[in-house]
């Protein structure tokens, strides 16, 4: 439940993605660290495949040269050139066009690409967002590799290229939605795809036990939604010492005289059910009581 608490606090990273049905899904944006990690993973995969491909091409090329003469070697060169080109330009596009809309790196980090307007994720959006990598990544990279050792004007060019690439690399940090330039042009963003299983409804325990407890309306009205959620966490953890402490605090606040054989969990879950029933009844009438200070 710690993640749920963090989730509600971290409002800045929630993207207001509204579905065509008009419901805000409250998706979480992928943060810079996850994006960077996903990218490094992908880069490692590309690098690995490229190295393997080159080795294979050299070995097969030598073999083909021996077996078929020049044409054999040439075929390998064609395959290598095309493979390199496809890998460089269409690795990202290809994977993001699939149903999961994520490269293996993004998948590993629990990220996916989504359309910013909430509509369908279209092929041209994915193409645009990845064509921009040419500017963000490959051009600075080739400049860095190509002009390392110049002097005078050349070193100034190098410095400018460095500043240029720095602008693009850190671009996502300077906007709220963590868009890189490609996202901006493609109209996409990268969101998290959290998995959450349905946790037990804590009122299931409480509603049964509520028969044995007759709380007065005044006693039930002592708390608001925030305290209810804390109580829910406590019940879920079901740790004896915490249960005892919380039960005593609540009993004091609502003036409940506890019998000595009363079980802490029974008491707390019954109170949870009563409080939730009361707050939800008021919610139906449009009154949301945030916490105990809320009138």
């Amino acid at each position: 439940m710690a993640s749920a608490a963090k989730r509600s606090q971290d409002k800045s990273m929630v993207s207001p993605l509204v579905t065509p049905e008009g419901v805000d899904l409250q998706l979480q944006l992928g943060d810079a660290a996850q994006r960077a990690a996903a990218f490094l993973l992908d880069a490692a995969i590309i690098g690995g495949v490229l190295t393997a491909m080159s080795l294979l091409a050299v070995l097969l090329g030598i073999g083909a040269l021996g077996a078929f003469g020049l044409t054999g070697g040439e075929m390998m060169a064609v395959v290598w050139l095309l493979g390199f080109f496809l890998l460089r330009n269409f690795y990202f596009t290809g994977f993001e066009l699939s149903a999961r809309a994520a490269t293996p790196g993004k998948r590993a980090m629990g990220l996916r690409v989504a359309s910013r307007d909430g509509g369908r994720l279209r092929a041209e959006a994915i193409f645009a967002r990845n064509a921009m990598r040419e500017l963000e990544l490959f051009m600075p990279l080739s400049l860095l590799l190509g002009r390392g050792q110049g002097q005078g004007v050349e070193s100034w060019m190098f410095l400018l290229a460095f500043a240029w690439s720095a602008i693009f690399v850190f671009f996502p940090l300077f906007n709220r939605d963590r868009l890189r330039v490609g996202d901006l042009i493609g109209g996409t963003w990268v969101v998290r795809t959290p998995r959450q299983s349905l946790t037990r409804d804590m009122a299931d325990d409480g509603a049964e036990r509520l028969r044995r407890y007759a709380f007065t309306p005044a006693q039930i009205d002592a708390y608001g939604a925030k305290e209810l959620h804390v109580l829910e966490d406590v019940l879920r953890l079901r740790e004896r010492r915490t249960l005892r402490a919380v039960a005593e605090r609540i009993a004091i606040r609502i003036n409940w005289t506890r019998s000595p054989d009363e079980d802490d969990f029974d008491f707390l879950s019954a109170y949870y059910a009563a409080l939730r029933g009361r707050l939800e009844a008021r919610l139906l009438l449009g009154v949301r009581r945030r916490d105990k200070h809320d009138a």
Binding site: T19, I126, E136, M139, S197, D201, E280
Partner: protein, 336 residues
């Protein structure tokens, strides 16, 4: 309090219990879809997903308004998002996407960019004219425009006979496919760069197109000055019609983005950039295809067809085909 005595369950509890089976079913379907076995779903299941998705989404709205069960709301949010990505995700088979792209999306996008295409073509012509004038004044300018690795011995120092020899085709086909592949990948990379550079408010893209024109101008001037203009034209245009058109379109796509960034008009800057980016990206995907064709023409066509008249013929045919495909009338105004 009386109804609580009759049925101890809370309203939100009953709400959850009545619908939980549907949610579980959707969750199981999503588990299977995300494992990549969407093709394994039966028709009934595929039809059920949108219905389940909408009922889950409406349950989410209700739960947000009436329930204080945090676990339930978080679960519904996650489940709705997963189903949303399936229902509104990238869709359709690759073949259907490609068919749509070639039948309507691509030509429509190219047509939509006619203004930028015109500007881009003008820039290239300007570059060519400027270079032609400069090289005509002083032949040494040639070296300023033409990178040595590209000229391949075609420079003012070479004799006329040597220049003429470079224009001839080769009878044997050794190394042609590797050459064609190299040309294609190299040009496609440059075109993608020209597109991406448009982001910086058009300027780098415009410079790149200008420079491309300058190389062209310098090259042609050199050959015209030796009386080889017609042959050089055939040598260049057999693939050049396709390739130069592709470069012009790439420049146009870059200009489109840069212009939308600089002058978004009535839209917000971000929205303008996005809509321009998507249109330009469609054009760019096509440019890669064009450059592939150009690479084939350059690598095979030019080396195998040595006759200048035949080269001009191929150039003309390709010009007509591209022109009709992009700008010719269509039965319906298909929008991509």
């Amino acid at each position: 309090m009386s109804d609580i005595r009759l049925d101890p369950r809370l309203k939100s509890q009953r709400f959850r219990q009545e619908r939980e089976a549907d949610w579980r079913r959707l969750e199981r379907l999503m588990d299977r879809v995300e494992k990549g076995s969407a093709a394994a779903l039966t028709d009934d299941e595929i039809l059920a997903i949108p219905v389940l998705y909408r009922s889950t989404l409406s349950a989410l709205s209700v739960a947000r308004a009436t329930s204080l069960d945090r676990g339930l709301i978080a679960y519904l949010e996650t489940l709705s998002s997963r189903a949303y990505f399936f229902v509104y995700g990238a869709r359709g088979s690759l073949r259907a996407n490609l068919a749509e792209f070639f039948a309507g999306g691509w030509p429509a996008a190219v047509k939509g960019l006619w203004r930028e295409t015109l500007v881009s073509a003008l820039l290239m012509t300007l570059g060519a004219l400027a270079a032609a004038w400069l090289v005509g004044q002083e032949a040494d300018w040639y070296y300023a425009f033409m990178p040595p690795e590209m000229s391949g011995g075609r420079d003012p120092a070479a004799s006329t006979a040597a220049l003429k020899a470079t224009l001839a085709g080769k009878a044997e086909s050794d190394g042609l496919s590797a050459f064609a592949t190299f040309l294609f990948t190299h040009n496609a990379q440059i075109a993608l760069l020209a597109f991406a550079l448009g982001f910086a408010f058009c300027v780098p893209t415009a410079l790149l197109v200008l420079y491309n024109g300058a190389v062209l101008g310098a090259f042609l001037t050199l050959f015209i000055s030796r009386g080889l203009g017609v042959e050089a034209g055939g040598w260049l245009l057999i693939h050049g019609v396709t390739e130069l058109f592709a470069v012009i379109l790439a420049g146009a796509a870059g200009l489109k983005i840069g212009w939308a960034m600089a002058f978004p008009g009535e839209q917000r800057r971000l929205d303008a950039a996005t809509s321009a980016g998507r249109q330009a990206a469609t054009v760019m995907a096509g440019v890669v295809v064009m450059l592939f064709v150009a690479g084939l023409l350059e690598g095979f066509g030019r080396q195998l067809i040595a006759d200048t008249a035949a080269r001009y013929g191929v150039a003309l045919v390709s010009a007509v085909i591209w022109g009709a495909y992009f700008y010719g009338p269509r039965r319906e105004a298909a929008r991509g």
